[in-house]
Amino acid sequence: MAKNQHVVPYGSEWAVRGEGNGRPTSIHRTQAEAIDAAREIARNQRSELIIHRSDGRIRDRDSYGADPLPPKSPRKVLFPPTPGVTDPDKIRTAVREVLSERGDKGNPRSDPRSDPFPPRDRRH
């Protein structure tokens, strides 16, 4: 049975707790990490995500079950947790410059609605 997922203060940390459960499902250093974990569970269970403030009052809530036509979007891109050898800002700048020069941003080949499977040489 789907359970609403609560993000609640847990000492100096934050916990994800299924509604009605005594024990937390997981404990996190920050509220953002707890929200990320709780959101995944709520999505999977098609239930609600309820985010509490540090004083216990409800700060926000999101539904992943009742909305018959939720807006679809690509997932947020996650970056590496540790930097490499190159300054990340330099990588960002270089990638954006190349995209700008090539005109790749908004490239219709990346748009499945315009041409989902264009003929390409697939040899690698």
Partner: protein, 211 residues
């Protein structure tokens, strides 16, 4: 209760060969994982100075709900004539974490790849019964296998899930841009650092979202 690392539910540990012959597949897997909204992790991440390689691998495994193990290069090394045990060993660490870890780690999910689906039974029969997927021999096939596996973890009513062919096309677009990116950053395209490459992939995908 052990703390849950940030993004545990979206981290994907990649356990595969790090040699030149596998690089095209490895880079494609990194791109695919990013393109579906997960985060690739592997032993090539920069680590704290002095951290033992095994400690680093254990840390990463414990921080990933998902893992991809490619056992296809578990064969005698041409140069040394000795078998390569790293991939089966790290598969064992991952299965151990799943069995002996905390409640979240008990839910770890693995994709085991090999050249043929049942070949592994000849060299690591203890894990018989584990689902092993034949990964194919081309980049589009590997992308398709990884995409189809991760796709099961997403709700298509909420997020846009690109098809394998769509990811392959996007990866080709990225590959065409990569030489220019390397030139600007003075990177050797044949010796890309994992974290740098992963960051470049993520930046490119962020600028070219699936629509």
């Amino acid at each position: 209760m052990a703390k849950t690392p940030a993004n545990f539910l979206r981290n994907v540990f990649i356990n595969c060969p790090f040699d030149e012959t596998y690089t095209p597949f490895f880079n494609a897997i990194v791109f695919t994982v990013h393109d579906i909204g997960f985060r690739p992790r592997c032993a090539l991440e920069a680590s704290n100075a002095g951290q033992f390689r095994l400690d680093k691998i254990v840390d990463i495994i414990s921080e990933c709900k998902y893992s991809i193990h490619d056992l296809s290069h578990t064969a005698l090394d041409a140069a040394t004539g000795l078998p390569r045990f790293n991939m089966p060993f790290e598969l064992g660490l991952d299965l151990g974490c799943q069995r002996f870890g905390n409640s979240l780690q008990n839910g770890k999910i693995s994709l085991v790849l090999d050249i043929e689906a049942h070949r592994y039974e000849a060299f690591i029969s203890d894990v018989k019964g584990q689902d092993v997927t034949a990964r194919g021999n081309t980049v589009p096939e590997v992308i398709e296998v990884v995409r189809d596996w991760l796709r099961n973890e997403l709700d298509p009513r909420i997020v846009i899930i690109p098809s394998g062919e769509n990811i392959s096309n996007r990866y080709l677009d990225f590959q065409m841009a990569l030489p220019s990116i390397c030139t600007k950053l003075k990177w050797n395209p044949n010796k890309l650092k994992f974290a740098d490459f992963s960051f470049a992939v993520a930046t490119w995908i962020e600028a070219n979202p699936i629509v």
